[in-house]
Amino acid sequence: MKFSINGVAGSGEPQPGQCLRTFLRDQEHFEVKKGCDAGDCGACSVLVDGALVRSCLYPAVRADGAEITTVSGLGTPEDLHPMQQAFVDHFGFQCGFCTAGMIVAASTLDSTDDLPRRMKGNLCRCTGYRSVRQAIEAGVRGDPPRPAPGCGVGDSPNPPAARRVVTGTEPYTFDLAVPGSLHLRVLAAPHAHARIRSIDTSAAEAVPGVVLVLTHENTPQERYSTGRHEHREDDPDDTRMLDDVVRHVGQRVAAVVAESVAAAEAGCRALVVDYEVLPAVVDPEEARRPGAPLLHPDRTPADRVDEAGRNVVLAVHGGHGGDVDAALAASAHTVSGTWRTSRVSHAQLETHGAIGWLEDDGRLVLRASTQVPFLTRLELARLFGLPEDRVRVHTARVGGGFGGKQEIFAEDLVGWAVLRTGRPVSYELSRTDEFQRTSVRHPMRVGVTLGSTADGVLTAMKVDVLSDTGAYGNHSRGVLFHAIAESVSVYRCPVKHVDAEVVYTNTVPSGAFRGYGLGQVILGVESAMDELAIELGLDPFELRRRNVVRDGDPLLVAQHAEPEPDLVWGSYGLDQCLDLAEEALARGNGVEPPPGWRVGEGMALALITTVPPFGHVAHAAIHLEPDGTYRVDVGTVEFGNGSQTVFTQIVASTLNTTVDRIVLRVADTDAVAYDTGAFASAGTAVAGKALHGAALDLRAQILSRADGVLERDGVRTAAGLVPFAEIGPLTGTGAEFGEQRSLSSNVHAVRVAVRPETGEVRILQSVHAADAGTVMNPEQCRGQVEGGVAQGIGSALYEEVLIGEHGEVLNPVFRTYRVPQMADIPDTEVYFATTSDTLGPYGAKSMSESPYNPVAPAIGNAIRRALGARPYEQPFSRDRVWRLTQPRIMEP
């Protein structure tokens, strides 16, 4: 058939059942993205003869004779469409994976009336939509481009990739043609718990196009963890690439590698697996009871599974300051409650996946959607028995992470298949794979009891946590440790006690998720604090002020009587955050509740360390070229966190140059010696600090060659300008090891309206105060806060991965799992404390995860005050909120 794409005539024959999305990508129009492949996210939107369509739902054969326009046909990086320009100017993206479809859809608008409804089919997981909405409004109006922003620290330059992202020309993981590539697909387990007696692969191997079938019999047997950390001993070794035991519905059973996706899928269907079905446990409370089915009975503490005999990966029991029950009994006031959080999907719009191939010298190369290329290389080299230097892992721009890509979910199979076949292999997960087989936020049951004096001074704090890690322990230990850390240490309290355990169940594994466990326990602690404020008749801000740690106070978790030695108050802004949020809420915003709805206000705070414990390493190098170009090598990954922008700002400020002179190479094990990775909000605080060190080193070297003032084109000396050609080439290096950690703080406050008869909750005002130290890029940092708040609102009100009685995910698609739409997220007023940190580069601190943490308790507290009844189970969905008004009705 004939067609045209962006004005260029083409011809080709699609497969009979092919959708237009993959057909366009077959023509190397990689700007057409896959977010869900089911019409729910909008990332693949294109115009067909001027009509907006979802190319993933559009039969390719219908494009016969059609004129197709993609985002790349609207404008180019050099000549942007007004809507593309507006998305650049208003920071209308973070990871940018939704942006191509978002802009195509927005380009068809002639009005912004009722914009949330018109844009309801385009999901953005990063921004929280405020910047998207402003971009669309500016684009529809045809605003002129904003004047060129400054490019130094404290300015708001655009991300270096901005003009490519908005035109669809910035490549992501799979936006690359790899000639001769094979495709890998996976057979999913139908049982929550079963032993595989045998797998008959003969029919699969006979499917035309099938090249290789992988099972537990021809893959490495070593155990490892999909979760990756600086220290591999942080996670239990409980996972095999392919195992002869399946422990959750959807687990990989076998992989088929074939010449086409269709053949790989057909091969999977042709596998004959004989299962011995085993008893399963899906409830975390039951999992640790005597007699429960055991998931990993043979693991030992040496594997970092503390009590495999009762499904407990890690147990933390302890306290300090005396007998907590006695202290509670002696307290003037006590409050108590038990809260529950849901499984939440990261819902990064780019699914996990990897492409691998062999270089001419036989080195294995993986291009993966990962936050941790170096850690992935380390573990794969170990697994495959290869020297580290025989494996290279790198990323293109990554389409969202949120912790979910601090894992190995594709790279192991792809790497092994490449080594076995010698050919390029590609494995791209589907959206349903994401729900069934990657990871979710750890669901937790959190009991909190607080005691206080009559004046509202805490006397005792008792926290009981049960975390459900699902079938595998990736991140189970780190998340539990973090969950009971800053949530507890933020308050001065003489007696603290914690009982915390994380257990295996036969369900989809939990993993790292924005906030890393803190948010779950903060829900309990901050809700209990609110209940205490109500009990005492005290203002909730005032109650916090009476009890929070102050500048210089030791940070004491329950189980240790001494603070961790690497924690320092590099700056303190929690007091300012409390004041800023309280003042903003008191000011109000004039938004009225609908008639008949009840109104309540709520707030919550959150503290977080700026760097993870036990070290986080980054190396950076800057090479000065004779023409004044600075080539910058950093190991960490850009996935919407904005770290690349901050890196250019650090280089521009330190070396007094401009962004056009800065060339970044990032996220590649070839780029630098080592980098722990882009997690724990470490982009600025660790990698940025390493880069700052490299810049200072280079600056000193330059000025040692020419004594004067460093300028964009050379060094200004008494004798005139010495050009870089006479100075360079030179290389500056820097490294950071994360040996000390400071603290960031966040306070969220809301005013909500609740309709008791239906359970509808409307956020009338949303306020967030953040202490990020020096704000490196105000527009970007605001976007990080807004995005974190939006994800917090999603978790608070809408999102829940539901598990059926047999352990299966009941809602593994976006049409039944509710990622917030534009209509669901109000604008948030964002305020920054004025602090400067002694540890971070230029006084900056981390600010990516933490805005998420206080949102759900703030909303829950507001609902409590509106209804007089407290929601204990997250999400506070409309049916649950309505049920709060019906005390005798039990949940079905």
Partner: protein, 264 residues
């Protein structure tokens, strides 16, 4: 998504083309069919090439072709009342409406199907083509009866929905509409419609909250208590990720009462 088991694609031009071979199925807009794996499907027969006029005004009322897209329905000057509201009740956005068909939405027959809500609200009737041969005849059936459950219909294999007919008598009726979901614009947890005909007869319909449409008819506008009692007594409220049965019943009662007052 790619339907990789599909090896054949026929464009239907005549009624004879609609006879399905083994593994073949009818393709409307495709916006549902291409949204999930269809492993039992090996061939598609495209209905949209039949050339049917999207919407026809007759003395009897409106005839909406099964292949009429949601966008065509909304853009048509003769569009029936509640069309905009019911389209907005779809989880599908306007990006989908350019391709998704009214008939496809009815045949898929999810409880939350906005076009089922529209047809049921307006006493819409489905014209069904029987497969040629075999002695079966074309027939008409109320859409509220054609949709038998959440995703099931009374259609027999080989039958093809030809059109949806809206009787002229309802086109002048007064109508009101409410929709609620667990999120503001989310997949409907309950869609409620009310209609008062020129003769005073009142029809209230619950969709999305009950697995199949619940049609409540009254000779005149009922009182609040009578309506609420009928809502509470309705069968088929169900629990799924989009809402629980008890909440669906509750919000149906609350919002139908709003409709009743609006129509009073």
């Amino acid at each position: 998504m790619d339907l990789n088991t599909v090896t054949g694609y026929r464009r239907a031009r005549t009624r004879a083309d609609l006879a399905l071979g083994p593994g073949e199925r009818i393709l409307g807009g495709g916006t549902w069919l291409y949204s999930e794996p269809q492993l039992d499907t090996t061939g598609l027969v495209d209905l949209t090439t039949m050339g049917w006029a999207p919407l026809t005004r007759t003395d009897e009322g409106l005839s909406i072709a099964a292949t009429c897209t949601i966008a065509e329905l909304l853009a048509h000057p003769d569009r029936p009342p509640l069309a905009v509201e019911c389209a907005n009740a779809l989880l599908a956005s306007s990006t989908i409406w350019t391709v998704a068909t009214v008939g496809g939405n009815v045949c898929r027959a999810f409880a939350a199907a906005g076009m089922v809500a529209l047809c049921a609200a307006l006493d819409g009737v489905a014209l069904v083509w029987a497969p040629s041969g075999g002695g079966r005849h074309d027939y008409r059936i109320p859409v509220a009866e054609l949709a038998t459950g959440n995703g099931t219909t009374s259609l027999a294999p080989g039958e093809v929905l030809r059109a949806l007919e809206i009787p002229a008598r309802v086109l002048a009726a007064r109508t009101a509409f409410r929709k609620i979901a667990l999120a503001e614009l989310g997949r409907s947890g309950a869609v409620l419609t009310g209609r008062v005909d020129p003769g005073g007869e009142a029809v209230f319909v619950i969709t999305a909250a009950t697995a199949s449409p619940t049609v409540l008819r009254y000779p005149a506008l009922p009182g609040a208590a009578a309506l609420r009692a009928d809502v509470d007594a309705a069968v088929g409220y169900y629990t799924d990720p989009l809402g629980s049965a008890d909440w669906r019943r509750q919000v149906s009662g609350v919002l139908l009462e709003e409709i009743r007052q609006e129509l009073a």
